[in-house]
Symmetry: C2
Subunit: 304 residues, 2 copies
């Protein structure tokens, strides 16, 4: 299971049709929260997601529309009696706000919240578990900012059922073979584990890139990802405004997607100036056809 | 015009049917925000209220469900190009959070935001303009907490139209008479301003009291108010829980209303444990019949 759910895809100015940035990525039963705009805990409820399954929060930068939901989320976890730690990752510029939340509102809290500063200048692994690996992706915005590459950990290969029958392999040996052990048959013949298995599906990879001007270094870091979320705050007609405030146009997002050979592109972080983002979609699709518009509640399943 | 609009009347744990605490009071065209729970800026939009008309924010205490909407509101005002100052009043325990918002997210902001600490131990005027006067009301909660009494400033008396005709009073003299000047008629007769006018309606008074255990001192401070909002987090059956966490039951709220001879009572700050607050309403009405349940979007007009 690798699933991306959009909780908010508006930009800084709230509108009646979009909420500030937040997404949930589900990887093998774990929930990762990407950005944490105001109202995220309510959105999680509306989308019928179990808040308590969130173990990790990755915040791109210290602008309010990406982090003002954090104090409410941390407090609500405490009210719900959470015991397991919550791990927050963000550029160090967010730390004063984080510390203030902890000092002002979390005295006597029964669970641990950690803050790990992410270097927004480096592309490196910032968090790794047995289920997923998250790396930072340097972006170009008005303040220190990084995207995140979320990768499923590789799966063990599948055993070939016909080989089990042919070599009479007992159940207890299967996990060893998947992990790389060869099998010695009753007649002494050694059968290599490669013959007994077929490779697992390649790990799902998702790149979350907001807020940023087009970063020419980005395609090399995210090449071939299954899905790229790239901000497209503006239409190309507003390109000079986009550059001025450190954002991208739909055209620029599509150019990044094309240069990175990604499979699918999701554009979001829409400016409040657009009542309808269809022109942005068409603009991007002209360059990268496999583009979709983000929307609150949209779910993209990369693996069932 | 004196109008109270409920934006949120749930308690700390968010639910699908209630938002955290926030209300807007409109007095003579000015908007006052009472408490500022997460998502308040979105609620203001949903309720078609013009954010920019808010000049004053009064926060009862430094619990998240009463103040986590403040960073988003301050930031959005800046994005909207606000130039007029915003005045925030709250117990001093909120100041570190306020300072952190200003330091972390408001660098270069084009409008002024002031913070005035309110002494939650004293009943005193904390803010006065030509339109309204706001006083603090000491409450009894787990942390320093105060309610607010919002009073319209007295209006000038009305001129009696029949007197204008009888004494041939010119238009230019009317405001002087309203303000207390007597009138000397053509024949030299001095007519006292009391004869020429009838008193204005008494000023509207609204008391906002949350979060608190029943405070026996409260009725004396709010006697005869047109409307009392008093928290009723729990039903009387959960009275011991209420006391434990520094809250009131619906029965206790009604007892305060009765003791204070208020005109109407609005109960709110409902615990997430109740799917339906009708039993709380009936409980309160048994003691104080003029009780209503708060609800998101409810508007109570005290003067048209």
């Amino acid at each position: 299971m690798f699933n991306v759910k959009i909780l908010g895809c508006g930009s800084a100015l709230p509108t009646s049709h979009h909420l500030p940035s937040a997404q949930v990525v589900e990887v093998r039963g774990k929930l990762l929260l990407l950005d944490c705009g105001e109202g995220v805990q309510l959105q999680l409820r509306h989308q019928h997601l179990n808040l308590m399954r969130i173990g990790h929060v990755f915040i791109t930068h210290a602008h309010g529309d990406h982090c003002f939901g954090l104090p409410g989320l941390i407090s609500t976890f405490s009210l719900l009696g959470r015991k397991t730690p919550l791990h927050v990752f963000a550029p160090a510029t967010l730390q004063p706000f984080f510390d203030c939340i902890i000092d002002s509102f979390c005295v006597g809290m029964q669970y641990e919240v950690t803050f790990t500063p992410v270097d927004p200048e480096r592309c490196e692994v910032v968090c790794e578990t047995s289920s997923f690996r998250v790396s930072s992706l340097p972006l170009r915005h008005r303040v220190p900012c990084c995207g995140y590459l979320i990768e499923e950990q590789p799966s063990l290969p599948h055993i070939r059922p016909e080989m089990i029958a042919e070599y009479d392999i007992p159940h207890w040996a299967i996990n060893n073979i998947k992990a790389g052990a060869d099998w010695t048959a009753a007649n002494g013949e050694v059968i290599s584990h490669e013959r007994l298995t077929r490779p697992a599906e390649p790990p799902c990879r998702y790149a979350y890139c907001t807020d940023t001007m087009p970063n020419p270094d980005l395609p090399a870091w995210i090449e071939g990802v299954d899905l790229l979320y790239h901000e497209a705050t503006y239409a190309e007609a507003d390109a000079s405004k986009a550059t001025l405030v450190g954002h991208s146009t739909a055209t620029q997002a599509a150019e990044i997607a094309r240069a990175a050979y990604v499979r699918r592109l999701l554009i979001g972080h829409f400016s409040a100036r657009y009542d309808d983002e269809t022109p942005l979609l068409h603009e991007a699709q002209a360059i990268f056809p496999a583009t979709e518009l983000a929307d609150e509640g949209l779910e993209v399943t990369l693996r069932v």
